[in-house]
Structure formats: C-alpha cells, structure tokens
C-alpha cells in the first residue's frame, strides 16, 4: 500500500506543472483610420483593461522594424490562382521598406521553414517562384504553431511581427476530414449532414480558443473561389481565426482580384501599430481591452479581448 501511495505521490510530483510566470504586459496590433500626420508615441494613447486604466508602455509605429512570416499554403494545383499570387507577392515584398524582413514557410503537409526572415528580396523572390503546388491543405493544421512561433518572437523583440497566410486550399483537401462524407449511401433518412459545416466549425472553435492567447496578428489571404456551403463556413472560420488575433482575412472572388487582395493584405500588415500594454496585477484571464487616442482624433481598430495564458 505504501509503495502504491509513494508511486502515486511521485507521479503527481512528476506531473505537477512548473510554476507559471505571470504575464505583465501584452502587445496588440492597432490601426488608425487615417494617417495621423506625425509620429505617435505611448503618451498619445490611452488604454483600459477590464475598465481600469492601464499604461501604454510602448508603441511601434508602421515605420518600425517588421518581421512578416509569410506562410504559403498552395495545394490546389491550380496555376491560375498560384501564379498571379506569386507574381503579386514578390512585387509587394520588393516594395517593403528595408527594415521589413520576410521569413518564408510552407504549410502543406505540415509547417516547414523555407527561409529565415531576411531583407534579401531576391532570395525570397526565387524561393516563392520555386514553390510547388502539391500536398494537402495545411492552414488549419499549422496556424496555431505559426502563432506560437510569432508570439515567441514578439516576446524576445520589440520588432513588430505578423503572420501572413496565402492559401488556395479547399476544405475538402485536408488530410484530416472536415467534410463528414456520406458513408452509407443506402441510408436515405440521414439528416445529420443537413448542416455540413459542423466539423469545420468545431475545428475553428478549438483553434480560436488557442489563438485567443496569441499576440501576433495573423492575416489570411484566400485565393480559392469556392461558393459551396462547406467552404463558406471554412472562409468564415478563417476570418474568425484571423480576427481573434487582431488580424484580418482577405478573400479573392476571381483570379482578377488576386493582385488587389494581396496588395490590401500587405498594406494592412505594414500599417499596423504595435502597442504594448501593461497589465494590472489582478486581471481576468480574458480581459476586455479598450484603446483610444488621447486627443480622440482618429478611429482605431484593434482586438478587444485577449486570453492571458500564463507562461511556463
């Protein structure tokens, strides 16, 4: 009996989590509806957390250092989508200021680094143009990991960090099944598939719960033009995931729109302010955030909730 008790105690001790570090500050992306015409600093912003006034510790403006983690998720094999996207991506990257670095990853069949963040536009150009369009769609399988990497970078550096997914995938092209296919074709009374979006919504909900703690904004450009109900739910899910992190999703409805939506996504990524907010000692795990300009001159866009998950 004692042996068992000792083993249980040992097991519990082994399972016991190490003490967690209290989070003292968070970073959130903020957009102004128009250029303020001057450099903004921390004192230009006011913020409240759960209704209590809090300090804005730092502000990184749109001309500050920026790292974009560009994640390619091109799996449809459709050159009419991928080629204009590649052309536009490389053109937009060349337009970035010198202090904007781009890291390149691919998401098909799992996340993989293709190039560390670099300011070398030619290198990124070459790699993007070489990217093949194979494998299974990977956005939903990799987005939490990408968020985790970007968050770690934010913790170590004051540089602004953003994730930009470029995807052309169909929700039916995942290795994991979100389609709930008919298994018994003789079952003519099956009503369980009348709401086909259930599985993808469930996956989105799980991911949104994880991404709620991610401080780096995630942006998604969807090149696919799918009008079916399942893919509509998938696209709504992408939008929800991006907005959970304070980012945004962009959808192309025809190949002619691809250059425009990618251009808009780069504009949005590069134009964000990164605000570091101090956290009060006692704060809820999902505090309500309010930010405003001290002079009230501009409308701001930002995330209003963040999950404070203590770090190990």
């Amino acid at each position: 009996m004692r042996v068992v008790a000792a083993m249980v105690c040992l097991a519990l001790a082994a399972m016991a989590a190490p003490p967690r570090e209290r989070i003292t500050q968070v970073r959130i992306p903020v957009w102004l509806d128009a250029s303020p015409g001057r450099e903004l600093s921390a004192k230009d912003f006011t913020a409240t957390i759960d209704g209590a006034s809090t300090r804005v510790l730092q502000v990184q403006c749109p001309d500050y250092d920026l790292v974009i983690l560009l994640v390619l998720d091109l799996s449809s094999g459709d050159l009419t989508l991928a080629d204009p996207a590649k052309d536009t991506l490389t053109a937009e990257i060349r337009k970035l200021p010198p202090n904007a670095f781009v890291g390149l990853l691919r998401a098909q069949d799992g996340l993989l680094v293709l190039n560390d963040p670099t300011a070398d536009r030619d290198a990124i150009y070459t790699l993007i143009m070489q990217q093949t369009l194979n494998g299974k769609t990977g956005l939903l399988a990799t987005i939490d990991t990408a968020g985790q990497i970007a968050d770690a970078m934010l913790q170590k550096s004051t540089a602004r960090v953003a994730i930009l997914y470029i995807t052309d995938g169909d929700v039916r092209n995942y290795r994991e099944d979100f389609t709930n296919p008919v298994i018994n074709s003789s079952d003519s009374h099956d009503l369980s598939r009348r709401f086909p979006e259930t599985l993808v919504q469930e996956k989105i909900a799980k991911l949104a719960a994880v991404l709620a703690a991610v401080q780096a904004p995630i942006f998604i450009v969807d090149l696919g033009q799918h009008g079916d109900r399942l893919n509509e739910a998938y696209q709504n899910g992408m939008k929800q995931l991006a907005e959970t992190t304070g980012g945004a999703a962009f959808f192309s409805r025809s190949t002619t729109e691809i250059p425009e939506v990618i251009h808009r996504s780069f504009e949005t990524v590069t134009s964000h302010y990164s605000l570091t907010l101090g956290l009060p000692e006692h704060v809820s795990s999902r505090p309500l955030i309010r930010v405003a300009l001290a002079d009230g001159g501009h409308a701001l866009t930002y995330r209003t909730r963040i999950l404070l998950r203590r770090r190990r």
């Binding site: 094999g77 670095f101 070489q130 002619t256």
Partner: protein, 916 residues
C-alpha cells in the same frame, strides 16, 4: 537535389550578401530559429533539441451518436389528420473517425504517411404512411348498389354477357346514348350475382385488407397505411495519404457499405403491392498520384472503381399483379431483382504555365457496367379497365374492379427472363483549357473538350431492338426484331459519336477598386445515353408475353387464370417477327444525343460590413433530351384518326393505323432523344461573412422553365411537339434560400458574460445554425377524368372554358382553383389546354431547419459537442396538391380543385460528439 535543399542553398548564398538586420529584428530572427528548430520545422539539418512529440498525440478524430425518437417529434400532419397520434421512429446513427500519421512504436516515427478511418452504423425503425382507395367490402361481393362516380351519381355496371349489336345503330352518327352501337344490359340492382364472380378473383380478395379510413369524398381514400420500415447500414471509409519525397503525392481511398431496407408492407399478405426488401452493398476504391514536375507544371493521375449492388425480393412468395385503377393494386411489379453498377474511371490532368496563359490538358476514360436481372412480371400482370363492364362507347359507366370480379382483363403480360444482362459502355474525352490574363483586372477562360461515347452493348451480345428499316415477314412492312452482332447489325445498334464541347468565360473587374466583378460564361455539352437498370432491349433473348384485348369494350385479352400460356417459341427466339403484337423495345439507332447549352452573366459587388451582393441572369436550354414513351411514341396514331371514333376500339383496326402496325407500341425506357427545354432565371445573392459571430447567406431566384415532355401524364400530341411546349411540371418560379450561423455573444472572448470560473463551462461555446427554404408551387397539371379516344391519345388534356376565370379569390384547401374554368373534352377529340397550366400553381412549400450546439472544451484538442437539430422546427404543414381531375359535365369530379390534407412535421435529432 531536392527543392528544399535548393531553397536553403539559395538562401545561404544570398545570406552572404544581405544587409545586417537591425538589432530588434535580429533578436526576433534568433528566436524564430530556436523555435522552429525546437519544433522540428527546419529542413536544413538545423533541428536541435527537437521536441519529440509522440505521433499518437497527432491523431485526431471523433466519436458520435445521433438519436431520433418519435417521443421528441411532432406527429406528422398527414398522420394526425387520419386521427392517429403516433408515427414510429427509433433511429440511432453512430460512428467514429480517427486520423493521424502512420507510425510503429519504437521503429517508424515519421513516415510521411497519413491514415484516416471512418465508420458509421445506422439502426432505424420508422413508419411509412400512405392514403389510398380500396373497394368496399360490399363491392367485393359484387354489390355495386352504393358505388358512385366522382359526382356522387350511381355508377352503372353492365353485364358483358348480354352484349349484342344494336340493330338501330346509325353508323353515320357518333356513338351516344341515343345511338348505341352495342346494347348491353345493366346488372339488376347494380349487383353482380355471386355465381358470376371469378373464382380466382374471389380467392385473391381474401388477401386484400379491409377499409380503415373514411376521408372521402364518397368512399374514396378509405385505406390508410402506417406501416413500420427498418433500415440497417454499416459502412467504413479508409484513406491513406503518402508523400513520396517533395514532388510526388499519393492518396488512396477504400470504402464499403452494406445496408438492408426492410420495406414497409402496405398489407401483410403475399399480395402486398408495396416495395420489396432491399439489400445494398457499395464498394469504392481510388488512387490519385500528383507529380509536381516544377513550380509551373503539375500532373495528376487517378483511377477510381465503384461498385453498387442491390438485391430485392429474395425468397418472396409468387403472386401476380392485379391492376384495377383507381384502386390499390394487388401484387408488385419487379418483385425480385439483382442489379450491379460498376464504374471504372482513369484520368490524367496536366497543368502548366506559358507566359500569361495557364494551360490545363486532361484525358479521361470511363467504363460503365450495369449487370441486371430484373423481370417485370414473372408471375404475370392482369390489367382491368371499365370497358368490359361499361355500356360500350359511353364513358362513366362500368368499373375496372367489376371487370376484375368477372375475371375479364383488358391486358395481360408475363416476363420470362432466362439470364441476367451485362451491359457495357465507354466514354473517353480529352480537354484543353486556357486561362488567359491579358491585362490587370481581366481574365478569360476558353476550353474545348472532345468526347467520344460508345453505345450500350451487352457482354454476350444478348441485346435486341426493332430495326425500323428491316422488313417484317408477317406483313411486309418495315420494322423487325434485330439482334446485336447478327445479320449485319452492330453490337450497340447506334454509332459511337465524337463531339466537341466548347466553353468560355470572362471575369472583369469593372472598377479600379476590384470590388465589382462582372462575370459571363457560356458552355455547350453533350450527354451520353446512360445505362439504366433493367433488361430493356433484350427481347428475343428474354420474353415479354403480351395479351391484348381485341376490343377493350367487348372482349377480354385472356380469361383470368392462374397462369398465362408460356412462350410459343423457345428462347432465344430471334425470328424477325418474334416481337410482333407486343409493346416492343426500341433503341434509337440515330447518333442523336442530349445537347445542353448554358449562358450566364452576373455582377458581384463587395459592400461594407463584410457583405457581398450578386445579381445575375442565366439561360440554359437543351434538345434531344431523353424522354420516355409517355412523351414520345414513334408508333403513335396520328390525331387525325380520331375521326374513326368508336371504330378505334377495334384493336385490329386500331393497330392498322400505326406506322408499324405489327407492334402495339414501343418501349423507349427513358432513352429516346427527343425532348427540348429552356430555362431563364434571374437571381440575387447576398452573402455576409462572419462579423460579431453572425454569418449568413441568402439566395433568391425567379425562373421560368418550359419544355415539351415533362409532367405526370405524358404528351397529348406526339406529332406536333410545339403544341406541347408549356411550363415544366417541376418549375418552381420563385425560390428563396437562407442559411445562417450565429455564435452567441456569451462567454470567453465574447462581449457578454465573460467569466473565467466554472460559469464559462455553461456560457461558452453556444451557436445556432439554420436554413430556410421557401418555394413557390409547381404548375397545376390538369387531367380529364375520361379518355375516350380509342387509344389514339394516351395523355388527354382538358378543355378551357372560354371566359371563366380559373383563379379563385382566396385559394385554400376547400378550393384552390376554379374547376369550372375547364371541362372534359368531347369523346374522340383532343383537349385544347396546355399540358401544364400557365397561371395556376400548386401550393408552395416551406421548410425551416434549426440546429443549436453547445461545445464544452476539454483542453486544446478535446471537446464534447451536444447538438439538437430541429428539422421543420416550426412544424409547418405544407399543403398537398389539389385534385387535378376534371370530370365530364354529366359527372363532374366534386373533388376537383380541393386539397386533401397536408404533410410534414417537426423532427428532432439529438447528437453528441466527442472530438480529440
């Protein structure tokens, strides 16, 4: 060298020259390298301290159970209206899915192979309902004293044994009550004496149920069926996905399913006319190989094999079919069958880029096999009509069931099938598509597909048709039986055809902000004639012994007996005249195939608030569409022959008027390419992407579809198809569909009731989804009660009464339309109304489904989701269609324009799913 290796080589070479990163960026890059190395995401060999996550943790899946029980449901309207309060429903649908990387503990950790396995089982018992009419108990004894016509007047039954020529008949005048060609006495008291009743008929009636309802009018709709049906199914889908290096990807799938439909019995005797029990088995296997030759070139090759088998009526007791409309039949057609559909598809597609062109070339070859053993009437069919108990030439006299009681069928048939048929056909196609971007904001697509279809053949050439050019030895006229691959006939009787199918589309961003897109498209395509189940086109190898009354008002086809005579000639019987005097199977020998073309234009605009609105118009049309023998009849008698009036009831004379008089008719089996249709539609679509938890999509369409073949009754004039051009019988001129999803703004990361304690388990994860569909009604297809055209017109239309408004002020179940606006055409004339009415519509339909879900998170990967779905959750009753039968002036159908009851009822399904 791999692509990935090249990537890093390029990256390394470039890194030697790149400018030094600012300090903060460098710190971010360093952390990026550490994190990606720890997660094992680097392909450059820099993986250090890689976190070794067990592959079992990468497996995801779900377990689920969906439950339905009549305890949760509303009693369907059609059942409560019959005074019942229960509709049996017990349903369990359960299953699992698991998917993850392949590994062998301690041996294979990361194989690049991903597996997925799904299983689902169904156990179900439910009720089937049906309202029909059966003879009263008195009627079964020959007592017709109470039997009335549709107007409520007594229906006189005449004794065929008293038939004699009328010496006063004036052949220069039409047959009428005042100028009868034949005299026949009514049964005294409208009572058929017991000693006149056919012994077999009386015996058979012991297997017929008693009336159990009194819906009316009169004694009609007196049998309500609420019978249990069982449904069992088990199926599985397995998938393997494997990356062969960086350039090749293989996906394979295997699926199988077995099912048993324990069909509802319409009555529990061997004479049950309801469907047979059915066993199902489906098998599917596929493999796809994707080869990425370069960033600009992708090749996809695939093979798929599918097999679906169904078996019915095994071990079922024999019973012939007794057809005495308008009463419920006894016995069932096609009581026993085995059918298998096998399809094999090979395909390859190559995509490549050349300047501003994206080119896609593809090739596909498909082999279709249908193996069928499906005798229609192995125990015989006996069809009875009022003619033999009527006053010859006078409608609304006599009754089909009275003819049955006397054992006097007007038609009889028996199938002799010696072996299954093994039908085959192939389709091959090559296609080339070019996507061209001439300038920013403009994209053009053009494509051409060349398809080759071969006709249906039978593996052992046990196939036949009527060759309309062969001379028949019996009468020297064209049209004789021809067997495949014999006497100069080809194996499929039709040529293989090669068609070009063009398509083009354009997308144009009409404004500089890319928020407005104009789209237009056009396509034209051909459809091969498919292989249906059944053994149509095997006459001579199998036999359809046919017995036709020489005059449906005077003489039966055969006496009602226990068994029909066997074929006079042993099978196979391939004599040129072997199919004479039957409804012969005819395979169209031309190269015609259904042709479809469509064009559409739409304008799409992105609006503030994550909304997209689209408005557009679409046209589609086609000709040579496949129709059945109710819409086409190459052996029809021209309507001009109606002038022969009652003489047409003489079968010999009648048949002599046909283009191929050696045949009673042709069976076309929905494979005759003659139909035409056109559909014009306008639509509006509003889509709101998710914001504040709400997403919705709405679609409204207004359409008009015309054709010359659809409808429940068939075509009136086979010789002038333009006269048949009317609204498509299933055209719903307006359709509104709405779907939405709303995540309730409660709980974590939501505006309201955000708690971190135990309350979040209650408040988090609620969502509501729903769909709504509202459709306008289909056109009313009116039908005269009597068809006294001597078999010249098979589907008679009604006449329009000039100056009478067919609409009523407040259409409802008591009167949906004004039947006085229509009338029964005079004997031996065609109706002047269209096949479907141009203004009258049947009641529309509404359906509202709602699903409420509550998700409880059990960590990052695990969750339990409870779901309650209400189908037709408002318990809305959709009206049945009104009675479309228009009676004669002397016997109007009192029920015309009335609606009997409604249908539908709320169904609730509860679901529980654990996902991991």
């Amino acid at each position: 060298m791999t692509t990935l290796g090249m990537c890093f080589l390029v990256a390394y070479a470039c890194a030697q020259e790149q400018p030094k990163a600012p300090a903060e960026i460098q710190r971010a890059i360093d952390e990026f390298k550490i994190q990606t190395a720890n997660l094992g995401l680097r392909g450059d060999g820099a993986a250090q301290n890689t976190r070794k996550q067990s592959p079992i943790l990468e497996w995801h899946g779900r377990l689920y159970e969906n439950l339905r029980n009549d305890f949760l449901d509303a009693v369907p309207h059609e059942i409560s209206q019959r005074g019942e309060n229960k509709s049996l429903l017990r349903r369990n649908q359960f299953g699992f899915n698991a998917a993850g990387p392949f590994f062998v503990p301690g041996m294979v950790h990361k194989s690049g192979t991903y597996l997925s396995l799904s299983f689902e089982g169904v156990r179900e018992h439910l009720s089937r309902t049906h309202l029909s009419t059966i003879p009263t108990m008195a009627e079964r004894t020959g007592d017709y004293s109470h039997v009335v016509d549709d107007a409520g007047n007594q229906l006189p039954i005449f004794d065929p044994a008293t038939t004699r020529l009328n010496p006063a008949y004036d052949s220069s005048k039409p047959v009428s009550l005042g100028n009868l060609q034949y005299l026949r006495d009514p049964f005294p008291g409208n009572f058929i004496p017991a000693d006149r009743l056919n012994r077999l008929a009386v015996q058979a009636l012991e297997l017929y149920p008693q009336p159990n309802a009194a819906v009316g009018p009169f004694f009609r709709n007196n049998y309500f069926i609420n019978s249990p049906e069982g449904n069992t199914a088990n199926g599985m889908i397995g998938k393997v996905d494997h990356a062969l290096g960086e350039r090749q990807h293989v996906t394979s799938e295997i699926a199988f399913s077995n099912g048993l439909l324990d069909a509802a019995q319409w009555f529990p005797t061997t004479a049950n006319p309801g469907p047979s029990d059915q066993h199902f088995a489906t098998r599917r296997g596929s493999i796809e190989h994707v080869f990425t030759a370069s960033a600009q070139t992708v090749n996809t090759a695939s093979f798929e094999a599918t097999s679906a088998t169904s078996r019915t009526g095994q071990g079922q007791a024999a019973f012939p079919v007794y057809d005495f409309q308008p009463y419920l039949d006894m016995g069932r057609a096609y009581p026993m069958s085995t059918n298998a559909h096998n399809t094999y598809v090979w395909s390859d597609g190559l995509s490549t880029r050349w300047r501003k062109h994206s080119l896609h070339a593809s090739a596909q070859y498909t082999l279709y096999q249908v193996n069928s053993f499906w005798p229609a009437y192995p125990d015989g069919l006996f069809r009875f009509s009022p003619g033999l108990t009527s006053l010859p030439g006078i409608v609304n006299t006599g009754h089909a069931f009275a003819s049955f009681l006397l054992g006097l069928p007007e038609y009889a048939e028996q199938s002799f099938v010696t072996s299954p048929s093994y039908f085959r056909r192939t389709a091959a196609a090559v296609a080339l598509r070019d996507h061209y971007d001439p300038r920013k904001g403009l994209a053009l697509n053009i494509g051409i597909r060349i398809a080759r279809h071969t006709p249906r053949v039978e593996k052992f050439d046990r196939q036949s048709t009527i060759d309309l050019e062969l001379l028949n030895p019996a009468n020297g006229r064209e049209g004789a039986l021809a067997a495949a691959n014999l006497g100069g006939e080809s194996r499929g009787f039709r040529p293989a055809v090669v068609r070009a199918e063009p398509s083009a589309s354009i997308s144009w961003n009409v404004t500089a902000d890319s928020k407005t897109v104009l789209r237009a498209s056009y396509s034209r395509g051909y459809s091969a004639i498919p292989i249906y189940e059944g053994q149509w086109g095997t006459q001579g190898f199998n036999s359809r012994e046919t017995f036709i009354s020489p005059n449906v008002q005077l003489l039966p086809a055969v006496p009602l007996t226990a068994a029909l005579p066997p074929p006079a000639h042993p099978l196979p019987d391939l004599r040129l005249d072997a199919a004479n005097n039957t409804v012969a199977d005819l395979i169209d020998a031309t190269s015609r195939e259904p042709v479809y073309q469509s064009a559409s234009v739409s304008l799409e605009r992105e609006l503030p608030g994550s909304m997209v609105i689209s408005v557009g118009a679409a046209y589609s049309g086609g000709h040579n569409l496949l129709v059945s023998d109710s819409a086409a009849n190459p052996n029809a008698i021209a309507p001009a022959a109606l002038r022969f009036r009652d003489q047409l009831n003489d079968e010999v004379f009648n048949q002599s008027l046909r283009p191929y008089p050696q045949y009673k008719g042709f069976e076309l089996y929905s494979s005759y390419p003659l139909g035409r249709y056109q559909r014009d539609a306008g639509f509006l679509r509003v889509e709101k992407r998710v914001s504040k938890g709400l997403s919705l999509s709405a679609y409204y369409e207004v359409s008009k579809q015309m054709d010359d073949y659809s409808g429940p009754y068939g075509t009136q004039d086979f010789f002038n198809r333009q006269n048949e051009w009317s609204l498509t019988s299933y055209n719903q001129p307006q359709r509104l569909q709405l779907s939405y999803n709303y995540e309730l703004p409660l709980g974590s990361n939501k505006p309201f009731l955000t708690y971190s304690d135990w309350r979040r388990y209650i408040l988090d994860g609620w969502s509501v989804s729903g769909t709504a569909a509202v459709t306008a009604g289909t056109p009313v297809a009116l039908h005269p009660e009597f068809n006294n055209t001597g078999g010249v017109i098979s589907a008679l239309n009604v006449n329009v009464v000039p100056g009478v408004n067919p609409d009523v002020s407040n259409p409802g179940p008591s009167l949906w339309f004004n039947p006085a606006a229509f009338e029964q055409p005079a004997d031996f004339t065609m109706g002047n109304a269209s096949r479907t009415n141009s203004t009258l519509r049947n009641p529309g339909a509404q359906d509202y489904d709602l699903s409420v879900s509550k998700r409880v998170s059990l960590g990052a990967e695990r969750a339990v989701e409870f779901n309650a779905a209400g189908f037709n959750f408002l318990n809305h009753a959709n009206w049945n269609d009104p009675d479309p039968v228009i009676g004669s002036a002397s016997a109007p159908n009192v029920n015309a324009g009335h609606i009997i009851g409604s249908r539908g009822g709320r169904v609730i399904q509860m679901g529980l799913r654990f996902s991991f």
